[in-house]
Point group: C2
Chain length 563, copies 2
């Protein structure tokens, strides 16, 4: 059989990366990165509103062309590769990143009348201008349609589709009125490559729809018009112009148009896999399977798991999303996350200690020399709020146990531990509700570069911490989705599981939990939960809080004596 290749394209926050991957073994044979040219590192900002983050859809179109062409050029230098062996394309993007489009499925921002209007551009996932709208959606749903909130953990976010669309309606009604439809970036790029010129024909993925737009087959698709009308009648009217169904990645989203085929030198009508979010295809590229928790550890952390769809999974309180088919067809996709992880360490090292990479390395090595419990410190990892399991952005950090001798390295370690405790709260919640976890696979720079971080996670979680073989799991996952979409007959695969078996790997690097450290961390985690549950408003304050500082000192004394 001639070797087959797929293309995976990963639309990140600042750039787009395309890879050409061999279907036989998942090896990347070509790659290219395109930095978005607009705004600040690709992001359109508003100096008057720090919550605003938009992107120029023109960058997406240009990025699609340049990144794929570049990756193909790169692959072409490899012996054995040729463009006619590319069998499919897969796309993953940030999300929720919706944009208003006209009746020809062109982003409104490309229209000269709207170019200068930031509301007409793409609303990047981290745009938080719609906090009021999100709170209102949650409140109305709690009162009138609580079932809508059950699969998303109980709280609708300002980062999500309806908050943003409603915000646009409120602050830029002319843009809202002019929009024929709104399309998520993950759905837009496949449609773009497929030459789809009517938003009603855009095939919508269940991943963006289910995780961000309150889509569920349980209530027949998007939220009922009656519910939307309670927010604003014009949202109910918009619902009719959006879509009725969203699909898992068991069918193509589109086929490559003649025009794009010519532009890229690829075969016409190549299948384009369903678009998905970067974390979800990242989980695929990391080898997610039943019992595997994939942690994409970066500035924040996204946790993904799957559970067979044959058996009903209960709603899990505080877990941001459970959507049938959102990660892989035939499975519930489960998504959780921590609002800040790397960002907290960056804040400490660069923001407070005013250090650079060298200080990161130094504190990391000093922190490695400390034993669990030795500093007497305990922290909450909420500097950017808590996504899972409290779903509450209005929480802040806490550090407890400082003496006059506390060092910056001790605080650095306590902050890592706090994020590990936050990670454990997620794992415990998943297990409690019947999603078993038997291994943890990590992706992202921290997983590859920060051994003390990984060892602490292994000790706190009590699982070996494995590291995904690919440094670019989202793009690899997109390429895998493409290989499955093309099918075995074309040189791909019938099932995601088969493609993953061949195309994903783990690094030899793995961090094993240390039994003694885990015992100490069990004690510290119990104290963390006292703070977590009290300050998170989950429970009435623990009556034992008045002895917490002493218990930490006792633990410290025990640890120091036993050394």
């Amino acid at each position: 059989m001639t070797p087959a290749y797929t293309i995976g394209v990963d639309f990140g926050t600042n750039s787009v990366r395309a890879v050409v991957v061999a279907c036989a073994d998942g090896v990347t044979v070509g790659t290219h990165v395109f930095d978005y040219p607009s705004g600040e590192q690709g992001i359109l900002l508003d100096p008057r509103d720090p919550h605003l983050a938009r992107q120029n859809p023109a960058d997406y179109i240009e990025g699609t062309r340049v990144s794929i062409a570049g990756a193909l050029d790169d692959a072409s230098r490899r012996p054995g590769f040729s463009r006619d062996r590319v069998i499919a394309i897969g796309i993953d993007t940030t999300g929720s990143t919706p944009m208003p489009v006209d009746a020809r499925n062109r982003p409104l921002a490309l229209d000269s009348r709207f170019k200068a209007n930031l509301a007409a551009h793409a609303w990047l996932w981290k745009d938080h201008t719609s906090a009021d709208e999100a709170a209102r959606i949650t409140a109305v749903a709690r009162e009138h349609a609580p079932e809508l909130l059950a699969p998303i953990g109980g709280t609708y976010s300002s980062e999500w589709f309806w908050s943003k669309v409603w915000r646009c309606l409120n602050v830029a009604p002319d843009v809202f009125d002019q929009a024929a439809s709104w399309v998520e970036l993950a759905d837009f790029v496949p449609a773009l490559l497929g030459g789809i010129e009517d938003p009603r024909h855009v095939v919508r993925g269940v991943c963006p729809a289910g995780h961000k737009a309150l889509y569920s087959e349980a209530w027949g698709g998007l939220p009922p018009a009656a519910f939307l009308a309670r927010l604003d009648p014009r949202l109910a009217a918009l619902r009719e112009r959006l879509y009725d169904r969203a699909f898992a990645a068991d069918r193509p989203a589109a086929h490559l148009s003649a025009e794009w085929a010519q532009t890229l030198g690829l075969r016409e009508r190549l299948p384009i896999a369903m678009g998905s979010f970067d974390a979800h295809y990242g989980a695929v590229g990391a080898g997610v399977r039943t019992g595997t928790l994939v942690k994409i550890i970066g500035t924040s952390t996204c946790d993904c798991a799957i559970a067979p769809a044959q058996r009903a999974l209960p709603d899990i309180p505080g877990i941001c999303g459970i959507v049938n088919g959102s990660i892989m067809p035939g499975y519930y996709g489960i998504e959780a996350g921590q609002s800040a992880v790397g960002d907290i360490l960056k804040w400490w090292v660069e923001g407070v200690c005013e250090g650079s990479d060298r200080l990161h390395a130094q504190l990391s090595s000093e922190a490695a020399a400390l034993r669990p419990g030795q500093s007497g410190l305990l922290a909450l990892d909420w500097n950017n709020g808590n996504r899972t399991i409290l779903v509450d952005p209005r929480l802040t950090g806490l550090l407890l146990g400082q003496t006059l001798h506390t060092t910056r390295a001790e605080i650095y370690r306590a902050l890592i531990e706090a994020t590990a405790f936050g990670a454990r709260a997620i794992v415990d919640r998943l297990k409690e509700f019947g999603a078993p976890i038997d291994r943890v696979v990590c992706c992202g720079g921290i997983a590859e570069k920060n051994p003390v971080f990984m060892q602490i996670y292994a000790d706190v979680l009590g699982y070996p911490m494995l590291v995904a073989g690919s440094p670019q799991t989202p793009a690899l996952g997109s390429a895998i989705a493409a290989a499955v979409t093309a099918g075995a007959a074309a040189g791909g695969y019938d099932r995601f599981e088969d493609a993953q078996d061949r195309m994903t790997s783990l690094k030899d690097l793995a961090y094993q939990p240390d039994a003694e450290a885990s015992r100490v961390y069990d004690e510290l985690y119990a104290m963390y939960r006292e703070l977590h549950d009290t300050f998170g408003g989950m429970a009435s304050p623990n009556a034992a809080l008045g002895s917490l500082m002493k218990r930490l000192l006792d633990l410290r004394d025990r640890v120091v004596r036993s050394s």
Copy 2:
């Protein structure tokens, strides 16, 4: 009338300072500082035990001679001064700093057999080796003699007399057995200058006795032998060799011996005032009077106040000491304190931010530009435990409200605010129990050098913060005590109040509370008390703790909007 002068000698932690002061106006006409030559900056340390801090009594004797002689030499350059116009000497020292002496009142450490034994030296106030003994004294008193604990706030400290003496008995019984008596440094120096060669003749001050040795007229002097016998029968036996009565500063402790008169070129039989602790004579030198709180703000803070002894003052829970006559005759002396103030800022700037004086100045100026409530931060000032009002060394620091944007200057300000809230807890407690405060006079380097610190204190406490005129209030207070001890007939004064009127002053510098800032701080202080009372174990956790972070964010948003 020919001008009269007195000498004040202040035995600090690292050095002894003597001043020659004009009785007419309190002006210093001569000064000399002697650095203790032994150990590390005058302190004998044990590399195996960080809690140990001792001093060589030989340094005290040498320091007495050199500092007084030097100050007299310095004064002699002034026109109008002559040694025969010196009418008395006053002494203040650190404390509790007891030392074992032989039957001739010679420190055991001067005996060649004991020179190398650290237990035979003076046990410096900050020696914490006797934590176990202190805890045991508190426990036994709670069970068998709770009345002993009432005037000291409920907890006996490892810094105090009986803890140290008992510790010596436990770890160096040979030293204990050889000691004819134990003498506080504040009593030792007057006896030394008076040539007293029998420890039974050493006149003991009520300040060390009452604040540190559980002395009270209520139970007839030192704690009953039956109580001490519960600790160790040998302590009960020691009691018989100590003293029956201790005295306020309304009588001399001694008169200058012929030998010392000759050594110093002073008149023989000059009265030596009762020795007292530095903070107490510091309060005198700062102009303490009924309604005045004197704050000696340094690495830690000592708060002193007085209340007329005619009217009985109740025991005040959590206040370290209330002793009749300990600051000025005819008044209850009230002592409170914060375990770390300047030390917390030093920890932050030097320990964590690894900065120097320049960074102190920079953070101070950046902190001054922030408004109360603007950072969203709230801290507890317990990095070194809490002396007043919780009397609990096993407490630690807490910082709450961090975001990813929190700066080191914001934390610096939050730490200052935390110490100010701790100061307010003391003031509130004093007022609650009938010790009115109508003005606050500050001494110490921070009071003179850190305007943002002082303004925050004014705003938090709601009082003008005044600054003592003398930078050396303890030595000035000793000189005032000397002037009163000598009496009006000799060119001094009949009453402390009269001497203070003439010999103390305030700097023009004063910090007035800002009404708007005080309003915000009232809110923040209420939140501080939620944390304080919960983590201090004073009260069951406040049920509202679960909303604390949100309330801080709300306050921040209000403050920012109103700017």
